[in-house]
């Protein structure tokens, strides 16, 4: 019986943790129940991926209403993959958060932190699994409001202004999405994704649909932090608590990317999105711009979290570049990069979280010489950094490989060269950190000797690093799922 209700349980289980944390309001209970329910959500996501690989599309009708009238949850291979990524990252970061939040949040707020964290997780899972566009908007706002709150929980006062800026831009983005949904409803009379996909070809040339498309793409791009709409991201990632940055950097933009894929490929269709609306060319330009602007800006940052935030903007550029190819390899590379970047960035931000836990700062000057005092943490950072650059044997290499392959298939040599050049730029800023950590002496003698981060924080970090290496060496699982998902999307499925 559980098997039939898996789609709704996927969203319900994390959401239930929030009122329970609020009810009992005790720090250790809140962490335990959040971790337990997050692991249950992980198991459900794995089961859903297994079912969708075997059976195709899983459809679940809420309230017993037929899909044409009510809200439907649809799981196909693209969804299921993103669900697995989000739940895995959420569980690993929760393991890390137990000690990390003690150092970075006011103690009285910690049970509320877990409540809002699980609300955010439930919201992200709802966005991914929903088969109804308005339901997607509602869950997107749930996850967005929770992430603004999570960022603002920091003791740092610049987190407040960052959360405010993110709120303004994020709400404008979500409202644009709502306008697009409204315009599509005017033309087709339905909110279900499958029905929209069937009804839209009949009204394609219509100006209302073109306007709806424009609003939706711009709205999602704000959430995705696609250049030039990325202004909220550096501040939001830099000043949020470490566990929050690790969670949001690895999930929020990935889910927004999934929403973009869903709208472009499933609802509007490849022909309309890329040929009529010239989105291929636009995403190519914006992707390249993001890659270079992000990587270059990262080189000049002194706050390492900010550096990684600009790096994230560049990685989102890679994903957008992938879908601009509109081929199986290109879209597959983008979906693969979604998974790879999530584990890379989560590992890097968790490493920085461990540094902050011991050091109290993530400024590159304060981190000089830290490699000798915190070897495990900084080695993890080095491996994660090499993965970001795209060194063979790490996951970063695999997605860059498929991206270059996709560019060469089209005969676009300059794009392939640009990807390789961007990897060199990545090497520059990663080398800055490695140089400061291992090759320089501490700027001022430290008051108390720095010890390694506690095992409770090292274990999740190294778990992610080992995943980085494992999926870089044995690529069969991730690549096959990503390529299958790309073929499914390009074929108009879902």
């Amino acid at each position: 019986m559980i098997n039939e209700h898996l789609p709704v349980l996927q969203v319900l289980v994390p959401l239930l943790a929030a009122p329970l944390c609020l009810l009992f309001h005790e720090r250790r209970f809140a962490w335990s129940i959040s971790l337990a329910l997050s692991l249950v959500a992980l198991v459900i996501a794995a089961l859903l991926l297994q079912h969708s690989l075997a059976d195709g599309v899983i459809s679940y009708e809420l309230g017993g209403w037929s899909m044409h009238w009510g809200i439907e949850y649809r799981v196909d291979i693209v969804n299921a993959f993103v669900l697995l990524v989000v739940t895995t990252i959420a569980s690993v970061v929760l393991l890390f958060a137990r000690q990390s939040v003690l150092a970075e949040l006011y103690r009285a707020r910690i049970p509320l932190f877990y409540a809002i964290y699980m609300l955010c997780l439930g919201g992200l899972l709802g966005v991914t699994i929903s088969g109804d566009v308005f339901n997607l908007f509602v869950f997107m706002e749930i996850s967005a409001l929770s992430s603004y709150t999570l960022i603002a929980l920091s003791q740092e006062r610049r987190a407040l202004t960052s959360a405010y800026q993110y709120l303004i831009m994020g709400t404008i983005g979500a409202t644009f999405l709502l306008i697009g949904i409204g315009l599509m409803y005017i033309m087709t009379g339905t909110l279900n994704m499958r029905d929209l996909a069937d009804a839209l070809p009949a009204v394609t040339g219509n100006r209302t649909i073109v306007t709806a498309f424009a609003f939706i793409v711009v709205g999602i791009s704000i959430k995705l932090a696609l250049v030039p709409l990325h202004l909220w991201l550096p501040n939001a990632y830099a000043y949020a608590p470490s566990a929050v940055t690790a969670f949001i950097a690895s999930t929020a933009t990935k889910v927004a990317f999934y929403v973009l894929l869903r709208f472009l490929f499933t609802i509007f269709g490849v022909g309309f999105s890329f040929s009529n609306m010239l989105l291929g060319g636009i995403f190519l330009v914006l992707g390249l711009l993001a890659i270079f602007a992000g990587s270059t800006a990262a080189i000049f940052q002194d706050n390492i979290k900010r550096m990684l935030a600009y790096s994230s903007i560049a990685q989102i550029g890679f994903m957008t570049l992938g879908i601009s190819f509109v081929t199986s390899t290109g879209v597959g590379a983008a979906i693969l990069h979604l998974f790879n970047h999530a584990i890379m960035k989560a590992a890097l931000f968790l490493a920085l979280g461990s540094v902050f836990y011991r050091l109290g700062s993530v400024n590159i000057r304060d981190m000089q010489g830290i490699g000798r005092e915190m070897p495990w943490t900084m080695t993890a950072f080095v491996i994660g950094g090499l993965s970001l650059v795209g060194v063979p044997l790490t996951v970063g290499f695999i997605s860059k490989w498929y991206l270059v392959l996709g560019a060469l298939e089209q005969g676009w040599w300059p794009v392939a060269a640009a990807v390789l050049l961007a990897s060199l730029l990545t090497l520059v800023y990663i080398w800055r950190v490695i140089d400061a950590a291992w090759l320089q002496a501490p700027a001022a003698p430290r008051q108390d000797a720095l010890t390694e981060a506690p095992p409770g924080m090292l274990l999740p970090l190294w778990g992610l690093i080992l995943a980085n290496l494992y999926f870089g060496i044995d690529t069969s699982l991730s690549v096959s799922v990503a390529m299958q998902a790309a073929d499914w999307l390009l074929g108009g499925g879902g």
Partner: protein, 118 residues
């Protein structure tokens, strides 16, 4: 001419949307930005609800004697959107209160001077 007069609801929507977006972008006071955001969201509510009206239809609540009702689905959608808007406004105002106690100001440029935020 019928485009101007017949579709007056869309003209109102566009006017409010642009006014709201202008206030969000151009105003430096944080509270005024929230007001602009609310105006922008209100324009979207009007878009949905004015499109739900059926000519000759009454409010979508079942009463004896009427057979033609306006479309109830956009009303339900906007109810949800209004709640989302209220939650966003409450959260934004809470952030402004905290920013005010941290920086003693709610003007964007004054805060930028203090901390290089914004």
């Amino acid at each position: 001419m019928s485009h101007l007069i017949g579709h007056y609801n869309y003209w109102i929507v566009i006017f409010l949307m642009m006014a709201g977006l202008y206030v969000v972008i151009a105003q430096g006071n944080l509270v005024k930005k929230i007001v602009g955001l609310n105006i922008f969201q209100a324009s979207v509510y009007i878009l949905f609800i004015s499109m739900a009206k059926v000519e000759g239809g009454t409010a979508p609540i079942i009463v004896e004697g009427t057979t033609l009702y306006s479309n109830p689905l956009p009303h339900v959608l906007i109810l949800t959107a209004i709640v989302v808007g209220v939650a966003t406004t409450a959260l934004a105002l809470a952030l402004v209160v905290r920013i005010n106690s941290a920086y003693s100001s709610v003007e964007e440029d004054e805060i930028h001077e203090q901390d290089q935020s914004f």
